[in-house]
Amino acid sequence: MLMSDSPTSADQPFVAMQGVSFAYPTLAGAPGRQILSGVDLSVKRGQLVALMGGSGSGKTTILRLLGGQVKPQAGTVMVDGRNVHALKHGELFALRRRMGMLFQFGALFTDMSVFENVAFPLREHTDLPEAAIRDLVLMKLNAVGLRGAHALMPSEISGGMARRVALARAIALDPQLIMYDEPFAGLDPISLGITANLIRSLGAALGAASIIVTHDVEESLAIVDYVYFLAEGKIVAQGTPDEIRASTMPYVQQFVAGSPDGPVRFHYPAPDYAADLGLAK
């Protein structure tokens, strides 16, 4: 990928969100429950950033906003100097060609082999001859250690392997922004370690801006450059992994220590327990 078509220089943020608020609209068009409010964040080229927070804190929505899948009610989302939500359809698709996204469960095309899955973006967006596509696919699969599995169907491989195939597919076009949605969820310790190292090395090799949405604290703090903590749609803390570990903020401490008591409530808001059971006087 040529860098000259990019309006941002190396020290400018490749991804910048400013004052972003978002609520999923209802069918009638009115905004529904507020998911994000006033979120600011930035990611530079070659930087690996983690978005952490509990379930429902709005982490995945940030990835959807960056990919232009949903539109914010307020604020701007800039990727490579372009306002994602001001782009026309064709321009958005052109920008997406420079993004790679790893979905939580891989989202492999189940009617295609591992090889065809990785070849998919190459076949769709390039006119490369078959021999070149074959070489590129095998190189990408080799990078994730699955060159030998190229002929298998998605139903014949494990969840961890599917995630790695999806990673190979996400980097097929050498993206400049790679987004990972819960890349560690449900992985065994070996696959988890391998995936974490892959994410680190791939981002460095491609010089890409990388964003990991995760709640695997230890694994993520070991590989990322910067962390944003989200709670109830707001960024409540941010810093380098060392700053996060040293943080005295109750929310961060609770998250890093994984303790049930703290600012994050285990219980979904509910009426009085005794009253609910009919025991209240």
Binding site: M99, M101, A166
Partner: protein, 260 residues
Amino acid sequence: MRAFARSIGHGVIDAVAKLGYFARLFVLTLRQSGTAFARLRLTIAQIHFIGNYSLVIIVVSGLFVGFVLGLQGYNTLQRYGSEQALGLLVALSLVRELGPVVTALLFAGRAGTSITAEIGLMKAGEQLTAMEMMAVSPVARVLAPRFWAGVVSMPLLAAMFSAVGVFGGYIVGVVMIGVDEGAFWSQMQNGVDWIDDVGNGVIKSIVFGIAVTFIAVFEGYDSQPTPEGVSRATTRTVVSSSLAVLALDFILTALMFTKG
């Protein structure tokens, strides 16, 4: 009372919104059909999948419908001494009505459901979102090839249904009951008009192909991405497309066969 009124209002708004979405997606599918033609391989694979695999049910049903037409037609015609017209009755019934309509109903059950379930499961597995994030339009890459494959397959299947049905009528009427073979074929040849009967039958099956396949594609694309959502969408495909076929059949018949 207010809740009841509100629920009616919600229902109407939802229905209008869905109808609007249906129409918009239809136009979008037509506009993004370039890929389906430029990369004909994609559409041919779908024709093979949804057309070829529907052949057995279409041929077997056509044969039995032909048997029944032969039997019922003979019983009725012989009361008036017109059993010679059996060939004409069988052929006109099939070419004008039963061929397109029964094929469309069987097609909705056989191919429509599989199209809806496949697209619904692709949606549930985030495959369509993944495609969008790879800057590939699911409408162009997934919906349009399936839609055109259905539109191409329907008239061909209906033609096969009618041909096999005529053969079924021949077996029962001529071979088993003993209606004169010459009269059977010559009356058919004289009485069936290429444009008024066969042509209109083909137009019907193309319209049904568009309706059934697009309903199947739409329901899959619009389904809730859960197992329950996909199963509901599959049911809706059969119900909506069957009703659409029957309603369209009435409208088309009224337009085509009413002499002004």
